[in-house]
């Protein structure tokens, strides 16, 4: 039940302390390895170091923890042990003081939990970067989930991003272009801390998706404010618990298909896209539905970007190099002709091959995401990305990649076999609608 460090000093101190701890661990590890190295020892070491980072990052909550979540999605960038531990950051950080929870509810909803609800579980069922969730029952008997925002979390957005920005500016050569990426992240995070905005999004998704395949909560507006969000409670298990229950391949395929279709149905409508595709935001319900439970990070990509992004799929499937090159120019990935510029050639080749790998599931009518070779290929690209000292690509890539990579990693973890024919048609239809 730790306190929340909101000042720039407190948060900077935790960053520094984490760096020191990790540095010490690396020094110890290096000394050990002088006496001979082994994979097992590396794994143990990475696991321990990741735990240290995790315990410090969870104290920070807010923006810093969001960064940790992003790292856990982009597998391949970090060793397996790191990604696994960072995944915990998605829904299991230490909850805040129970008396603070009561006081926040009193301030926001006008009464203490025992006055407002028929029952209120003071122990959080999930605690993540921006807020924590409690189970409760309304006086009408309806079961609800109450999300409570940590106090001061909005103030940390500017200070954490300021810290990150000053760090990036030391590395990145095109400093001026960095601002638009940070503005995009900041505006998204600010929206995530506005629970009224999230409540309205919940209702729109409920209208769009609630069916015999998907279960989404309903927003309970009367019990919600900018910092407290009440929604109907969904029963179900997260990916980890589902896999721990030793499910059959058929069950894995069923849920894999649901999340794959959920993603493509959003592409078809393309009004709003759930941009936080990590396991903590999805539930597998007992009656075989996919539950979607967090709508804080939902994006409206402008058509000018989104259609070009979608076009990458058919152009890669058709191996139309000229069209692909043109798209990468338009999307800001290429800045010069790869035929004449060596650096651009390196970027182009990387993007081309990564694109081919990303398009692979759409090549045939069925795709097995459980194939370990495919997982290694994706991880290999992330590891070998030509990371230069400049920011590249349209700012919307920040979240479109997060959605896409999140989806693929989810399916790879699930080990699902997915029917992809229909989704390929969805993407093509969406593009032709726009062209038409």
């Amino acid at each position: 039940m730790s306190d929340f460090p909101s000042s720039k000093y407190d948060r900077g101190k935790i960053f520094a302390k984490t760096g020191l701890k990790v540095g010490t661990s690396y020094a110890k590890h290096y000394l050990k390895n002088l006496r001979g190295s082994s994979d097992e020892r590396n794994s143990e070491f990475y696991g321990q170091t990741a735990q240290q980072i995790f315990s410090e990052f969870t104290k920070l909550r807010g923006t810093a923890l969001k960064i940790a979540q992003s790292l856990s999605i982009d597998q391949g960038l970090l060793p397996d042990e790191f990604s696994e531990v960072m995944t915990q950051a998605q829904y299991s950080v230490p909850p805040i003081n129970r008396s603070l929870v009561r006081s926040i509810i009193k301030r926001e909803l006008g009464g203490y939990p025992e006055q407002i609800f028929k029952s209120f579980d003071s122990t959080a069922i999930a605690a993540a970067s921006i807020g924590q969730v409690h189970r409760a029952e309304l006086k009408t008997g309806e079961k609800v989930a109450v999300k409570i925002q940590y106090p001061g979390v909005r103030d940390t957005i500017a200070s954490d991003l300021g810290l990150a920005k000053s760090l990036f500016k030391r590395i990145i050569s095109n400093k001026d272009e960095l601002d638009e990426y940070f503005e995009e992240v900041e505006s998204t995070l600010r929206k995530e801390t506005d629970y009224i905005h999230e409540g309205e999004t919940i209702n729109r998704f409920h209208e769009r998706f609630s069916s015999d395949r998907y279960e989404t909560p309903r927003w309970i507006e009367d019990f919600s404010t900018e910092r407290v969000l009440t929604m109907t409670y969904l029963e179900g298990v997260h990916l980890k618990e589902f896999l721990d229950s030793d499910p059959s391949q058929e069950e894995k395929d069923h849920f894999g298909q649901l999340i794959w279709d959920f993603f493509h149905e959003q592409v078809r409508d393309s009004d709003e896209i759930h941009a936080d595709t990590h396991p903590g935001n999805f539930l597998f319900t007992n009656d075989g539905k996919l539950g979607i439970i967090d709508f804080g990070c939902v994006k409206n990509f402008p058509d000018s970007f989104f259609i070009d992004y979608l076009r990458l799929l058919p152009t890669h499937l058709n191996r139309d190099l000229e069209e692909i090159k043109e798209l990468y120019f338009r999307l800001g990935v290429l800045k010069d002709d790869p035929e004449t510029n060596e650096k651009e050639k390196e970027y182009f080749e990387f993007c081309l091959n990564y694109g081919f790998t990303f398009a692979m599931p759409y090549q045939s009518d069925t795709y097995d995401f459980g194939d370990p070779e495919y997982r290694d290929m994706i991880r290999g690209y992330t590891k070998n990305a030509p990371i230069g000292n400049e920011a590249r690509g349209n700012k919307h890539f920040l979240y479109s990649t997060r959605v896409h990579l999140g989806l693929y990693h989810f399916l790879m973890k699930l080990g699902a076999m997915v029917q992809t024919k229909k989704s390929r048609e969805v993407v093509e239809e969406r593009i032709s609608e726009e062209v038409g």
Partner: protein
């Protein structure tokens, strides 16, 4: 809470509202505000100061009553109980912020006598500390009057902070309570003092330079 206490709290809140209009309000005016006969008011309070004092005492009584309705309150940690005390009192003061701003230091904070609020507040701190079994042995030994006095003084400072807190939803005050109570808990739960005391005791009894040679090991 019995009916008389409830009525006294209601009247004292009327008194707080009246005070903002006229700092020297009469008991007759209070009777009108509380919709009671003047004589009835005198059954409860002897004078205006008594009414205003009871406003603060009443907050503590309301707080105490609220703890009975918190599920699992007895399992709260030290920081949660201290946090609950501070935050509930602030919550109760919030609708009367102007009154608190005008009177807290005169009636509670810097009062020459020990105001009833302070006596009750110290009693509550004693109850919280003495009912917590997770504290280290040494910190339990410090559960004495100076600790409760210091705790009361910290609360006065918190009220001063809260009165100047312009953050949305007074989030800064919440954060301060959270940080402060976590710090206090860390101090009281830490076994480092116990370990330090053990070492000091061992050295004291076993040092070859000590005249007292009674071994503890």
């Amino acid at each position: 809470m019995n009916k008389i206490i409830e009525e006294k709290i209601r009247i004292s809140k009327c008194g707080a509202n009246l005070y903002l209009q006229n700092t020297r309000f009469t008991m007759s005016a209070l009777g009108e505000e509380a919709d009671l006969q003047k004589d009835k008011i005198y059954d409860y309070f002897s004078n205006r100061r008594d009414v205003l004092d009871f406003f603060y005492t009443g907050l503590l009584l309301e707080y105490k009553e609220s703890t009975h309705s918190i599920k699992g309150y007895s399992e709260f940690t030290l920081s949660e109980k201290l946090g609950n005390l501070a935050l509930t009192l602030i919550d109760l003061m919030e609708p009367h912020r102007e009154f608190v701003k005008k009177t807290y230091w005169d009636l509670v904070g810097c009062s020459g006598r020990r105001p009833p609020f302070e006596t009750h507040f110290r009693d509550e701190l004693r109850a919280i500390y003495e009912s917590d079994s997770q504290q280290s042995r040494l910190s339990m030994a410090f559960n004495r009057e100076p600790l409760f006095k210091a705790g009361t003084y910290n609360f006065h400072l918190l009220i001063r902070f809260w009165l100047h807190d312009l953050s949305e939803g007074r989030q800064k005050s919440m954060e301060l309570v959270d940080k402060w109570t976590s710090f206090v808990q860390e101090l009281h739960y830490s076994s480092i003092l116990d370990r330090g005391f053990d070492v000091a005791k061992f050295i004291f009894y076993n040092s070859p330079f000590s005249k007292n040679k009674t071994s503890t090991t």
